[in-house]
């Protein structure tokens, strides 16, 4: 099978690059293992100070509601963090004291939302809090199985029963000016969070839960849909086993599901993520990149990989694939000319591109531009 570009990895970086290329009429295939960092997305795009018009267009066209106002956001354990570009689920406030009286609402039996931590954090900022629980028959059903009360299961129920939850919150509400709810709204129906906001006569703030992240999964689905609407091919649940290189360039890749049907392309993009996503692999002696065996910047001795203090910056998070200026990764010291590395597989090797979501977006745009600027190679077939 032949495409203009084959992208390895279907997270934020891979999908962004794929959308940019499809928009310009380049046929793309994305090979995705299925899970990616968007499933653990906090809702705020890290290291993005202000959105560029290109980012705004990307989100608007995909139907992803974002907003931008530098401020602080309330985190799941009751602390506050600076944030700027965020999904509209995330409320950005100018100061931590954003309310007077707060009603914190949880679902009965849901352990992955930390009401007492939140109340404590808010009270320390001088707000008064009340905690209440919703006991809906709809969530009660999933509760009868002892390990089912998790974010995605509740979100599935809320996609159809959110109005009932809203009714209950209205009854619970006394004189509070703000209501805090867990981020379990709008898994498949992205209009739900806004409709919940409109329907409750107080300011509504959605706060994160333990993963998986419902807004993160929704974002991933919307980006994937946009990519497919533009004509892209998304191969889910597949894994790259091997790559064929010829004369300093990638010729094709082999995947588990497609077997002998190699994926050929003029350009390849490696967006396979960091350690958790298996974009980087490690053994007791070294860190490696498993698909192409690319050069990885790392500390030599294992004892230099870590800081014994968990809170400190961990050296291993800086490890990543080495590239030239144009994001062509190095193999044996020489750039692979039709391959680009983007997103977390770069680790901290390209500090000018930021970290996390910022790194994913900026490097994806840069790789897409690199491909679009290069002349179209006529298809041999």
């Amino acid at each position: 099978m032949r495409f203009d570009t084959v992208i390895i990895g279907g997270g934020l970086a891979g999908l962004t690059a794929g959308i940019c290329l499809q928009q310009e009429g380049r046929s793309c295939a994305i090979v995705s293992t299925g899970q990616n960092a968007l499933h653990f997305f906090s809702g705020s795009f890290e290291s993005v100070e202000a959105p560029t018009p290109r980012m705004s267009d990307l989100f608007t066209q995909a139907g992803i509601a974002v907003h931008y106002s530098p401020g602080v956001r309330l985190m799941p354990l009751g602390t506050f963090r600076p944030a700027a570009l965020s999904l509209s689920d995330v409320t950005l406030a100018e100061t931590p004291k954003f309310a007077r009286k707060v009603l914190i609402v949880n679902f009965l039996g849901y352990q992955d939302f930390f009401t007492t931590f939140l109340a404590d954090g808010l009270e320390r900022e001088g707000m008064s809090c009340r905690i209440a629980t919703l006991d809906l028959p709809e969530t009660g059903q999933i509760m009868s199985s002892p390990s089912e009360m998790r974010s995605v299961q509740i979100a599935r129920v809320m996609d159809r029963a959110w109005e009932k939850a809203v009714q209950e919150v209205r009854i619970l509400l006394k004189d509070e000016d703000t209501v805090i709810l867990p981020q379990v709204f709008g898994l498949n129906d992205s209009s739900v969070p806004e409709r919940v906001r409109q329907a409750i006569p107080a300011r509504v703030i959605f706060v994160g839960t333990l993963p998986p992240s419902v807004p993160g999964i929704r974002t991933q689905q919307l980006l994937k849909r946009r990519f497919e609407v533009l004509g892209g091919t998304y191969l889910s649940g597949d894994e790259v086993l091997q790559a064929h290189l010829h004369d300093g360039a990638v010729h094709s890749i082999v995947t588990r599901n497609l077997g002998s049907h190699y994926l050929e392309a003029d350009h390849f993009i490696l967006a396979s993520g960091g350690f958790f996503s298996k974009g980087l692999k490690s053994n007791p002696f070294q860190v490696s990149e498993p698909v192409f065996g690319l050069d990885v910047r790392q500390a030599g001795d294992r004892s230099a990989w870590y800081d014994p203090d968990f809170k400190a910056d961990q050296p291993y998070l800086q490890f990543g694939v080495e590239t030239d200026e144009a994001l062509h990764p190095l193999l044996g010291g020489r750039p692979v000319r039709n391959l680009y590395a983007i997103g977390s597989v770069l680790g901290g090797t390209r500090p000018e591109l930021g970290t996390g979501a910022g790194l994913a977006l900026r490097s994806a745009f840069a790789a897409a531009d690199g491909i679009l600027e290069s002349p179209v190679i006529p298809n041999e077939a």
Partner: protein
Amino acid sequence: MNTPDTFDVIILGGGITGAGTQRDCAMRGLRTLLIERSDIATGATGRNHGLLHSGARYAVNDAESAAECIKENMILRQIASHCIEETDGLFITLPEDDLGYQKTFVESCRRAGIDAQVIDPDLARRLEPSVNPDLIGAVRVPDGSVDPFRLCAANMLDAKLHGGQVRLHTEVTGFIREGDAITGVHTVNRQTGEKRDFHAPVVVNACGIWGHRMAGLAGVNVGMFPAKGALLIFAHRVNNLVINRCRKPSNADILVPGDTVCIIGTTSTRIPFEECDSVAVTPEEVDLLITEGAKLAPSLSSTRILRAYAGVRPLVSADDDPSGRNISRGIVCLDHEQRDGLKGFVTITGGKLMTYRLMAEIATDTVCRKLGVDKPCTTAVTPLPGSEEKSYEAVAKRIWESPSMAQKAAAARLGTSAERIRSGNRLDDALVCECEEVSVGEIENAVERLDVSTLTDLRRRTRVGMGTCQGEFCACRAAGLLARAHGCTAQARADLQDFIQERWKGNFPIGWGDTLREAEYTQWVYKHVLGL
């Protein structure tokens, strides 16, 4: 004087020796107080193999310890059945070992009263499919595994049921003296800062390796020998029988199955006293444990490692052997009145997890003699709370009729005490820890009945966060429950930080492969998603 702060005996140290001594003293009718600087089982008690020694390991070099071990082994099977698993063990001879040693070994075992049966290597391979198939000899012995946290908690619970009091997270800052006698201790609560004095005519020093410091605080010297031992926990239970090497005791030659995991150890390195509070496992130790472990069970080399940890053996120094391995693990009970002219102070040390009950009996005999109390020890024949019935499956059936997996797991952990767990409704039955199947009800039981004040305390009582995910999410859920139970969220948040740090301490020495994947994930979840 008979005030709330006055007791017959004060026991210092919340390890198994202290807990066992408190239980024995309490069962002989004494008013007891146990004081522990940190939590239960934080020293050598919780940092070993969890091996229910048959004594075979010591049979050749230390006949006395071997005989003590097998006797206590048989007693623990009766009184602590919910804390132990009767797995049996193998002593295998590999091609590079001297098969001639087997004969000496078996003869020494029999002299010590240990039922050691030479079996055919083929039978050994059938009994234990994970064993190194190249073995040329095998001996079967009555080894087993023991959960030291559970054992410690059960002893303390029984002491409390007999009127004992326990003060955890309380540090002794000095001794109260009257002339040439110790009559009590000054303490400070490390969580609240509260200072308080407690009085008793006898104080027992059961602080393990820290007993050296405690004795120094009392003005007497107990020469000790801190020997660090490093161990690795694997994410699967690859073996069902304990596997030992049939040779002179050496590094990394015991593999013990326990609950859902197995543990390889250990090493032996002399360390300075200052390092006892912060022992770390080195890359060299990790490499050695993996290499030697794979000789016992080859599949270990491809099994995920969950955690590395190290403990300090409280050996009493006897000679100048630099390895510390040839020192007798014999029990040492010092009556400082006879030894140093200091009345009211007793040190119980040396020994092993296996012989804790005997150590407690000896210490309690000494205390009773000092107090003029004449009551016999009954700890060898009285089951610990939880061990009144032997089969945990039968216990689970009696309590719940048709128990769930989680309820069976709870019965295995708590024995008959599992009947105290609130259950039967969807809120209490909800799982906090999915790896180890710990329910909300079981957590609340531990918080209410087992002196839990921090998340790490909870881990030792319930196995929350000890499974394959090492507390990725259940730590947060449990912290939420603790915050609710104690009404102090700031403390619970600090706890969560401590818990994650403690987890990382055991992870970075083995930080590659899946462990590094999990570590990156934890960094992401706790720093970026949760904002801890």
